[in-house]
């Protein structure tokens, strides 16, 4: 007897999966830290373990008496940190080999699963190269902080690999990318207008993160990491819902966080642009069969543009000249916007926030003292000291606001200029700055003799595909027939 699972087909199960992710939220939230008073009488109840965060000299920085679950991972030992560096190096090397040499999507997939397990669930998402941006920024701008060497290596290594082999880190090592990659179901091609409009966000994110880290305000990349709650099987509800939202959206918009938010992607893109041994769609020569055209769920394949109508040269030159002239103005304008935003950003700094609260309470005597101000007052620290510190941070933030805004103005200007420069594209090629090197497109290339899972040499399917892929428009009947599965 044959059991029919038709009613439980793929769509149903994937929908179920989506619902489960949502359902996980309140459950995971339940694991949030629960304050619990001591028992009134002796019982078998034992207190949860407590943990201390020590500095390098063994002094206690934070003593937390709450259960370990839900807290940041314990500081790891030096040995463990170097093991992590070793694993990262090996994973990147293997990823580069699989992407560039072996062109193996399957290999990259399994490496991605390993990385998700190790860097995601085992290491609970920390340390990660994305967050290490902030450590590096803080150590550059704050002489009293030195980023651990292992964290610096985590920051540099994926960039170095990207410089030579493309974004193999995204392909197979990044846990954030991996968890999104797993849920890709029916990726849709987003309108180019939208993707371009969203392309400024990662720059805003990285600029803001560096500014806030440099002023010792906070590590927002880590704080707003949408997937960390999954890796730790714990977290605050809003962030878990944010992560679930990314995963649900990721079923249709492949790897949305990587494409439209990831701050580290900005740096990887800069490096990958110059990668000499980048993954290529075809290992030999592109025959323009167009079979890979829609194989990339991220839309990072550049199509040939030869033979297409171009703008008049004089018009293009005039536009470019105007954009170059506009550049300083946009930088200053961006700087002004950043400067206006500085007080808002400064408020994210605990010192400034506290100083503002204290000032507000002084200005309005009827205002109830907050927990923060009450605690501060009980600490016996001079108010003047707090105010001086707050003024210093606000001043730094003010300067940082100008720089951040100016940087974003510059990026915007350069993007405008870039979109006005049309370069010749002869073959189907990956978009090097953006391509995640996931290897999906490789198996769509009929020229790849090493991996042709879709095309057995001499098969009818290959012949038809090659015939159809030629630049000439296929006969409508052929297409129709193919659609009906009769080809």
């Amino acid at each position: 007897m044959v059991i029919s699972y038709k009613f439980l087909d793929q769509r149903f199960i994937k929908l179920l999966f989506g619902l489960l992710i949502l359902g996980l939220m309140p459950v995971v939230q339940a694991e949030d830290v629960m304050r619990f008073p001591a028992p009134e009488f002796d019982s078998n109840y034992t207190f949860p373990e407590t943990w201390d965060l020590m500095d390098g000299r063994g002094n206690t920085i934070i003593q937390d008496t709450t259960p370990r679950d839900g807290q940041a991972p314990l500081p790891t030992s030096q040995t463990q940190q170097w093991i992590d560096v070793g694993v990262l190096t090996l994973a990147l090397s293997l990823g580069a080999w699989l992407a560039v040499k072996r062109r193996s999507r399957r290999g990259l997939f399994w490496l991605m699963i390993f990385s998700l397990g190790y860097f995601g669930f085992y290491k609970e998402g920390c340390v990660c190269p994305i967050g290490s941006i902030q450590n590096v920024a803080l150590s550059i701008f704050n002489s009293s902080y030195a980023a651990p060497i292992t964290v610096v290596i985590f920051f540099v290594l994926p960039l170095a690999f990207a410089l030579f082999f493309g974004r193999v880190f995204c392909a197979s090592v990044c846990a954030l990318g991996a968890i999104q990659d797993l849920v890709i179901w029916k990726p849709i091609q987003l309108p180019r207008k939208l993707t371009i409009a969203l392309s400024m966000i990662p720059y805003v994110y990285i600029g803001g993160a560096i500014l806030l880290a440099a002023t010792n305000t906070g590590f927002i990349i880590c704080r707003y990491d949408p997937f960390i709650g999954f890796f730790r099987l714990n977290g605050n509800a809003p962030y878990l819902y944010l992560g679930a939202g990314f995963l649900l959206a990721g079923m249709f918009i492949a790897r949305p966080y990587c494409r439209f938010f990831c701050p580290y992607g900005v740096l990887l893109g800069l490096m990958s642009r110059f990668a000499r041994w980048h993954l290529a769609i075809t290992p030999t020569e592109c025959v323009d069969c167009r079979l890979c055209e829609a194989s990339c769920p991220f839309d990072y394949i550049n199509k040939p543009n030869t033979g297409l109508e171009r703008e008049e040269r004089a018009t293009g030159v005039r536009r470019l000249a105007s954009l170059f002239l506009l550049l300083p103005l946009l930088v200053v304008l961006g700087g002004w916007v950043g400067h206006e935003m500085a007080p808002v950003m400064a408020r994210y700094n605990n010192t400034v926030f506290l100083a503002e609260q204290i000032t507000a309470e002084k200005a309005d005597p009827t205002m109830k003292a907050s927990l923060e101000t009450t605690t501060f007052r009980s600490m016996g620290i001079a108010e003047e000291q707090l105010m001086a510190e707050a003024t210093k941070i606000r001043s730094q933030m003010n300067m940082g606001g100008w720089l951040l805004g100016g940087f974003l103005g510059l990026v915007f200007s350069l993007k405008l200029i870039n979109t006005s420069l049309i370069r010749d594209q002869k073959d189907y090629e990956v978009d090097k700055p953006h391509c995640f090197s996931c290897g999906r497109c490789c198996s769509y290339c009929p020229s790849d003799e090493m991996h042709m899972p879709n095309f057995k040499p001499g098969s009818k399917a290959l012949e038809e595909a090659l015939a159809l892929g030629k630049p000439s428009e296929p006969e409508p009947e052929t297409v129709s027939a193919m659609q009906k599965g009769k080809a």
Binding site: L8, L20, F41, K303, T359, L386, L416
Partner: protein, 594 residues
Amino acid sequence: MRVVEQEKNTTSLAYRGLQALAVIGGVFSFVICILLIANNLSLKSSDPIHLKSLEGRLEEMKGDPQNEAIKLQIRELDYISRRAFFTSQHFNQMGIYFLVGGLVITIASYKTLDAYRQAVPYPDSSDPKDDLIDDAHWARKSLTGGALVLAGFALILALPDNSPLDEPHEPAKKGSAQQTAQGSSENKSNPSKATPLATPEELAKNWPSFRGPASGVSSSSEVPITWDGESGEGIAWKIPVPLPGFSSPILWEDRVFLTGGDTQSREVYCFSTQDGKMLWRHKVAGIPGSPAVAPKVSSDTGYAASTMTTDGVRVFAIFSTGDLVALDMEGNRIWGKNLGVPENPYGHSSSLICHEDVLLIQYDQDLEEESPKESFVAGIDVTTGDEKWKVKRDFGPSWASPLLVNTGERDEVILAAEKVVSYDPKTGKVLWEFEWIEGGEIAPTPVYSDGLLYLCCGFARITALDIKTQEIVWENEEQVPGVCTPLVTGGLFFAGLDEGGIVCFDAKTGKDADGELIELWFEETDDGFYASPILVGDKVYLMDRAGKMHIFTPEKKFKSLGQPILSESTVCTPVIIGKTIYYRGTENLYKISL
């Protein structure tokens, strides 16, 4: 991308097996998820600490604390409820692992199933018809649109935003209406060495310290003699004071100042005399050396027992933590320092007083052997908070306040403790000393009148001392006030007693008409007195601790003029100025006006 399906082996056993595994994994995960949600909801609503049955038993135990059976029941109930709670939590933890396992199986099965469904890709039926010019045009538009949205969002957040740090003088704005009327706000908000000190005339018109500018004698002649706290009759306004305190109010022009404090916070308040509105409130915190934990003090003293003082430009306040602050009239701190946490069995209560540009502080402490603490009197520069002079005192604590006296020859500041010592307020030089008492608890402030200094020590004696010769003129060990500072006027000595009763002595002799060393009269009252009497024209106002004002004539025979009552008890000495009385109750500040 259009696809045609390759030959699929979808009927194979492996394919069907994987499909079944995926379904089972999905359903398993779903069931676990539902169970976890239910368990979580149950956890959220459970309160193992406040079980009704447990609380009922606890109540029972209060009535019968020795009942071992109830104790046993409580222990068992407590243990069971906690165990149930932690079991549910454990289930949650385990459930999450099961859920993750189920999801891994589901995803893995589907990813594998995908291999069975691999399809040959086909390109789009049409050639790429990209329009490079149009694309570039749209790209620029989209980019600009995106940038404008980001910039617009940033400006929407930023432009209406006002940081309180950009307006550090907000309190000044709030009180500006009153200051404009006085026309002296600039000087007040920028106190500096150049700021002229208040003239004696200005001081006399105000109420700058404990018992006013003239040792308990008000410049008023006509103030209310009837009011009723309960009905509100005669009460111009009544405003709650946020934190408790036994400090009495002081007044400068149109502002009344007070302190309040508890273990958590110490504050200075400024109220408008017009409507009682709180103009500002200054939290005394962030002072270097200030203790993180407030010292233990007696509930009869509290953390804000010392009355403030003002030089007309600044107000000064001191608390039981040893924190001393100078604020401008708008509540901005000019300076603040901690004098060391006072070692005082009841808590520091000595009030502040100003002499020209010197703030005088009596800081008597309990001196134990090898204690690093020391009693001292200090003259502090009002503008900077720096010590102008400081003189160590070799005796234990007192709770009295300094008395500033002009003997006709010189200014003296006289401090009453076991030893009474007079200092030069400008230099701290000791002018004279008088061994008065041993081990007494001295709270009433000394009073000077017509060459005599009146000293009171509860449960000990009243001493009238010749200030020039330091010879005792008369003493009495009966009817001695323990807290109330006496009023000496018209040759008579008036005081309220702790345990109740008002007493009157002949100030010159301490004797009655028969020449006996006894009071002239004693009027019994229901309640005792901590507040001090104030002379207003031909009337004496003395409030008892229950809130009843005893108004009587300052004569050799007691003659009551009225006993109006407030609706709350009090220990503070009022401000009586113009036609108005400002009085601090335990919770409210009152204005009683004609």
